[in-house]
Subunit: 250 residues, 2 copies
């Protein structure tokens, strides 16, 4: 099977981004409003073409910075540092009606941003709760009050959310949703938002403070959540939690 550079089928390769954060106790994803056909006016995941001499992760990082101003830290997993990883690749022959597009989806976990989204037009880029994005799509046949996501982005988002949900079980990645310094309660609210469940504050506290390398106390305290002052922590060096955090049944 010799290569003939003009004989291989014409493919376009793109990256799509599932950018997740936790805002107001809800897991939110970054979506952009499409300004062109197809799916004009619909919400879609941010993304774009991979450049000829650009790696896949580099393309994802570039698109992320173009859309949000977020910069990926090299050593992912740091608290306050944005985490980026490859999610999966979607290449159904007719996922884009215009041409054959293979999209390498990436997952980004970011802390809540004070400014909504810098670098993008506020009218066309926004955070949307994943719950509404995913549930709306389920009943796509309803009147198009809030249209569903474009292309196969519903599936990509669902896969990304599922990846995030399972990954915070056995890794320290939940700290990627937190500011550089955070309390145990704030970290617990991240788990609660991502999993959509309530956790026992006492057992959670015992678990995370008892896992070596997960949290490092900074010595400071804060009362920004109200109530008794809480210790501040940074993410420790551990990336894998063993034994894992257990997601409650059902």
């Amino acid at each position: 099977m010799p290569y003939d550079p003009s004989a291989y089928p014409p493919f376009a390769v793109t990256v799509d981004l599932v950018v997740l954060t936790v805002r107001r106790h809800a897991l939110c994803a970054l979506v952009v409003r499409r300004g062109e056909s197809p799916y004009e006016g619909r919400w879609a995941l941010p993304g774009g073409f991979v450049q000829p001499k650009e790696g896949l992760a580099a393309a994802a990082a570039r698109e992320l910075e173009e859309e949000t101003g977020l910069r990926v830290h090299e050593s992912a997993g740091q608290s306050g540092g944005v985490h980026l990883e490859q999610l999966a690749t979607y290449g159904d022959p007719d996922r884009d009606p215009r041409m054959r597009v293979v999209s390498v989806a990436h997952l980004v976990l970011a802390p809540d941003l004070p400014a909504p989204v810098s670098g993008g037009d506020a009218q066309t880029v926004r955070w949307a709760p994943v719950e509404s994005l995913l549930s709306l799509e389920q009943e796509e046949s309803r009147e198009a009050a809030d249209p569903a996501l474009a292309f196969d982005h519903h599936r990509i988002l669902a896969d990304g959310v599922e990846r995030a949900r399972s990954k915070i079980e056995y890794s320290a990645l939940a700290t990627a949703f937190c500011p550089p310094e955070f309390t145990v309660g704030e970290l617990r609210r991240v788990y609660e938002a991502v999993w959509g469940v309530a956790l026992d504050p006492r057992n959670f506290h015992r678990k995370v403070t008892g896992t070596p390398g997960f949290l490092v106390p900074t010595g400071g305290t804060t009362t920004r959540q109200g109530g008794r002052p809480a210790q501040l922590f940074r993410a420790g060096g551990a990336t894998l939690l063993n034994p894992p955090m257990l997601r409650p049944e059902v």
Copy 2:
């Protein structure tokens, strides 16, 4: 950013396969000898171009059947059924010296085949223990007695093996390495081969027979492993093991 079908960069999209099985108590991968430049004469993972109107999983299944005669069962996870899943996508700009190739790697778990490999030339397709494939590559600078894998296939294989090792922890996928009917001991040898550790037969037996939906007794027994007759099982409907099998530390 309007689409211009002639303006996007020229990409080729391929699928590569990490096909794993357990033979003679060792985890083995399918490799083919390259007959052309670059890396002529080297071993490489099987793979090929995605066709214009073909999905990624379909391309992987087609390549698998072309190289091995194996056919993927639709409902993966059945014992005796071949399991196929997407692994990851590799697209470094210079991973192939000839052109820009983005490869969507897939992971295949198959039971040990009585016939070596049907459908392929026995001289150019073979099972190789992953231990030797991976360790050889580590010392690539040694004399080229047995050259390393072509392209970035060492990394792809390593990722696939790591995926398989972690996935049998929390899923019932180990049965994909087994024939349609198998004993607890045979299943244990699968775990031991994939993880490269020895497991306690008594605790393993308690664990797998006590996990609902993992194993279904067929009523038959066999002595093909020698010793006392062992019950035969089929894979149950469960796909996720909760709690998971624990891989011994270190």
